[in-house]
């Protein structure tokens, strides 16, 4: 069914409140996304390097980085000499 109206969300807004936890999570993701994309702007980096630069635990960096990879913002760019960590860069034409 084509609802023919791009504003049905207004009806939901009358019924539902967005929780503080959802707002906080959105803020965190927006901030982290910006920071990761900025950190990768000039140089490819791996998770430990990004963790240091963003001052964020490595597991959280991986989670956000892989989400950004899924959404088409970043891609793999080789691996370190020890074959331990991949490097990631901004996606070509991304």
């Amino acid at each position: 069914m084509n609802v023919g109206n791009k504003k049905t969300v207004l009806k939901m807004k009358e019924k539902r409140q967005v929780s503080q936890a959802v707002k906080d999570e959105l803020k965190l993701f927006t901030k982290t996304k910006k920071a990761i994309l900025k950190a990768l702007k000039d140089n490819k980096k791996n998770v430990p390097e990004l963790s240091e630069e963003l001052n964020m635990p490595t597991d959280r960096v991986l989670y956000f980085l892989m989400s950004l990879q899924k959404y088409g913002f970043v891609q793999v760019d080789g691996i370190d000499d020890m074959d331990e960590y991949f490097y990631y860069k901004l996606k070509d034409n991304g």
């Binding site: 207004l10 959802v22 331990e84």
Partner: protein
């Protein structure tokens, strides 16, 4: 076929659209029965559609599931409803049933969604993706995964900020926040219960550290890491993105363990762990893979050969009971176990641990039936009232069970079990038509 003009009379109601329910629905429809196939999830396919490859043939699981799933979607006699559950099932004196069907709002009109993902792109939210078992994020406007059926978006209203971006981006105007819960009654002649299983929750064994130690993951999380639609670019440690090179498996996590309430064998863990070990040897040729086991149960056709193949590839099998896992500062894990061949308590270090979690029956199925009692067996699976002669028969005449809802089993056995359930159900429908049923 998704059908909005819901016909209220069906020959069969199939509850659960995993491989067992899907197969049973197809079998019934192929002999001319009208089937309502429902699943509480956003997509059909159950667990199988999420697997990487299948033992012992190593066929791609998605490649087997997808044609089945599209056959179900196209079948003119099958109506499939996702986000849907049945309740208040009543058996009438003539042996037929009526049931209340409840569909939760998806906030997307499935028939008009082209799966273009523009809503996903527009949505600013990122939350844990349950279809990747939390390893990566997804949007609040999202298609569950690329081979989901229906391949249509859904809005996760709990995590939605109500910004309206998805709705503005949708080219077909099929996002609809005014959708509400839909309820309607159906009548049917038979019911097949194919509600499958849930995974054992490993936080119930705190000494293994799941949930606290990032590099302790479940076998389902590894299954996703090995699948073509994987969360990461390859198999990686969740703690820091390092490529693991020394992975341990702890078999029987939450199976054959009375202390956590699951006394029986889950039937599939030995073989899926052996499968994953072989796939890991392919994905990470330099990695060491060790399986800690109590007994290896390789009872099916080709299973023992599959086990031998893993050993010849270099997978190490250690007969040992893992007592405890501790974490080092670098994220590596120390396994303390009793080596059963020597009787000695030993410690080894690994950089990732996979818990081969067991299978548990889904709860709450008996509550769906109102005037008849669907009995459970001592392990809380649906009781098979005549397991030798008629394995799909339950305590209610006209209600049949298929797949893991009746006992732990693998995919081939689930398909066989669906065959039994559908032929018993077809027979019951025929008996009703000639009034040979006494209830």
């Amino acid at each position: 076929m998704q059908d909005n003009n819901k016909v209220k009379e069906y020959d069969a109601l199939v509850i659960g659209a995993g491989i067992a329910g899907g197969e049973a629905a197809l079998n019934l429809a192929n002999v001319g029965n009208r089937v309502l196939l429902i699943d509480k999830d956003l997509t059909v396919g159950g667990k199988m559609i999420m697997l990487s490859k299948v033992f012992p043939t190593l066929d791609c699981s998605a490649c087997i599931t997808t044609p089945k799933v599209s056959e179900i979607a196209r079948h003119s006699l099958i109506t499939t409803l996702t986000s849907t559950e049945a309740s208040d099932i009543v058996q009438k004196d003539n042996g037929t049933f009526e049931a209340l069907i409840t569909t939760q709002p998806r906030y997307v009109h499935i028939e008009d969604c082209t799966g273009c993902q523009l809503c996903e792109e527009a949505c600013p939210v990122n939350v844990e993706d349950e279809y990747q078992y939390g390893l990566v994020g997804r949007k609040a406007a999202f298609i569950p995964f690329s081979i989901a059926s229906p391949r249509a978006a859904a809005i996760d209203i709990e995590n939605c900020t109500l910004c309206g971006a998805c709705e503005r981006a949708c080219p077909t105007n099929c996002i609809d926040f005014t959708q509400t819960v839909e309820k309607f009654m159906i009548e049917c002649k038979t019911v097949i219960v194919a509600t499958g299983f849930q995974l054992f929750d490993p936080t119930l064994i705190p000494r293994y550290g799941y949930g606290r130690f990032k590099n302790v993951i479940t076998s389902m999380q590894m299954e996703r890491q090995l699948a073509p639609t994987r969360p990461f670019n390859t198999v990686l440690r969740p703690s820091d993105g390092k490529i693991p090179d020394n992975i341990a498996y702890v078999l029987c996590t939450g199976s054959r363990d009375k202390t956590v309430g699951t006394p029986i064998c889950s039937q599939v863990c030995c073989m899926y762990s052996t499968k994953q070990a072989q796939l890991l040897m392919g994905a990470l040729p330099m990695a060491d893979i060790t399986l800690y086991f109590l007994h290896i149960r390789a009872f099916g056709k080709g299973f023992n050969e599959f086990y031998a193949q893993a050993q010849s590839m270099g997978v190490e099998y250690v007969k040992g009971k893992v007592a405890k896992i501790t974490e080092k500062e670098d994220g590596n894990l120390i396994l303390r176990y009793e080596d059963i061949s020597t009787g000695k308590v030993t410690e080894t270090e690994h950089d990732m641990v996979v818990l081969s979690v067991g299978i548990l029956p889904n709860q709450g199925i008996t509550g769906l039936f109102k005037n008849r009692k669907l009995e459970l067996d001592q392990f809380n699976y649906i009781s098979q009232s005549n397991p030798l002669e008629s394995p799909a028969t339950t305590s209610i005449k006209g209600v049949f069970v298929a797949g893991v809802a009746s006992a732990p089993m693998d995919i081939p056995d689930s398909i066989l079990s669906a065959g039994a359930a559908s032929s018993e159900a077809a027979n019951y429908i025929r008996q009703l038509s000639v009034k040979q049923v006494e209830v």
